[in-house]
Symmetry: C2
Subunit: 171 residues, 2 copies
DNA sequence: TGGATTACGAAAACTGTTTTCATTTTCGGC
DNA sequence: GCCGAAAATGAAAACAGTTTTCGTAATCCA
């Protein structure tokens, strides 16, 4: 079985888990379940990578064209509040949203050639940050590390570009 | 001689250097020298820390109240283009500008209590990032690391807050 | 000093996001 | 199953930060 296939299967379970967790959150907050919200969250959780509001809205509109920006924004805020989704800003002026992926916390490498965003995690890096903070009498709540540059494997980079999925998550 | 004093003196030389460098840049680009631009850049270079457009405009207006947002924005773009200034975004939605300080490259710790922004640099951290990029066949052009958290020395933190210079640069 | 070129400032435009408001939907209690 | 309070929706307006436009003014080289 190809790893990709396996990943997809796992993902589907994860998606259901998240939908359930969100339903829980909504109920605990005394909010209501609506068709639009369900459409938006299930669309979102099935998308991979770092999704902009516009990307999400486009997908959502394919299911229900009457859904507008306002509802998507509002739902994304709820998702963030629920802790199921994180908001990121990579400096191109628009917010991107990321359902927690396989790795709980991670940092990013952003290829400026093809727009691909890779995730990585390194414990030594985390530890080093902690010790630096310690030295400066600082307590870290969260951090953000982004490496901007280029895939060295230009072929792959260019291929990705050609496939037109710039800014999509690593797959 | 107090370190602060010394720093201030050094700074004044640096400011002159930068004004000259900018004048150079302007000339090489075939642009014109204007009173407004001079006011803006010399005000900017004399401010410390991570300056927002509004903060800069307020200062500038004390010298020449007729200068407006447009000119400040335009001049800041030129400063960035000249390489003398870097634009930063810390996620509060507004751009901040930073004249290169003593340390050429550095990262940031941002106190969420008092808004203070500390700069730091650590060669091991840089090296570690390089080796991680290498492992992933990635070439880093630039990076950004921000630690969000709190000064552990709450007293100092609260004092700074009381002094009302939240979000000001380390001094 | 003239005149082409660039810069200025005020206001309008623009972008991404949030809010408003009138209407519709949800859902616990009957 | 229906009522009604509470919440959600969608279209449009509002908003904040930034950029552009446009008519006027300043710069600076020949």
């Amino acid at each position: 079985m190809a790893p990709v296939k396996k990943f997809r299967e796992l993902d589907e379970n994860l998606v259901r888990q998240k939908e359930a967790a969100f339903a829980d959150f909504i109920q605990k907050k005394g909010l209501k379940t609506t068709r639009q919200r369900n459409t938006i969250i299930s669309t979102f959780f099935r998308l991979r990578g770092h999704i902009s509001v516009e990307e999400l809205l486009n997908q959502v509109k394919q299911v229900n064209p009457r859904i507008g920006y306002a509802t998507v924004y509002r739902t994304l805020h709820l998702l963030v509040e629920s802790g199921l989704v994180e908001e990121r800003r990579f400096g191109d002026g628009l917010a991107r949203y990321e359902g927690h992926s396989d790795v709980e916390h991670h940092d990013h490498m952003i290829c400026l050639e093809c727009g691909e965003i890779f995730e990585f995690f390194n414990p030594r890096l985390e530890a080093l940050q902690e010790s630096l903070a310690e030295e400066n009498n600082f307590q870290i709540f969260r951090h953000r590390l982004e490496l901007y540059g280029a895939c060295k494997d230009k072929d792959a980079c260019q291929k990705r570009k050609a496939r037109g999925n710039a800014a999509a998550g690593a797959e």
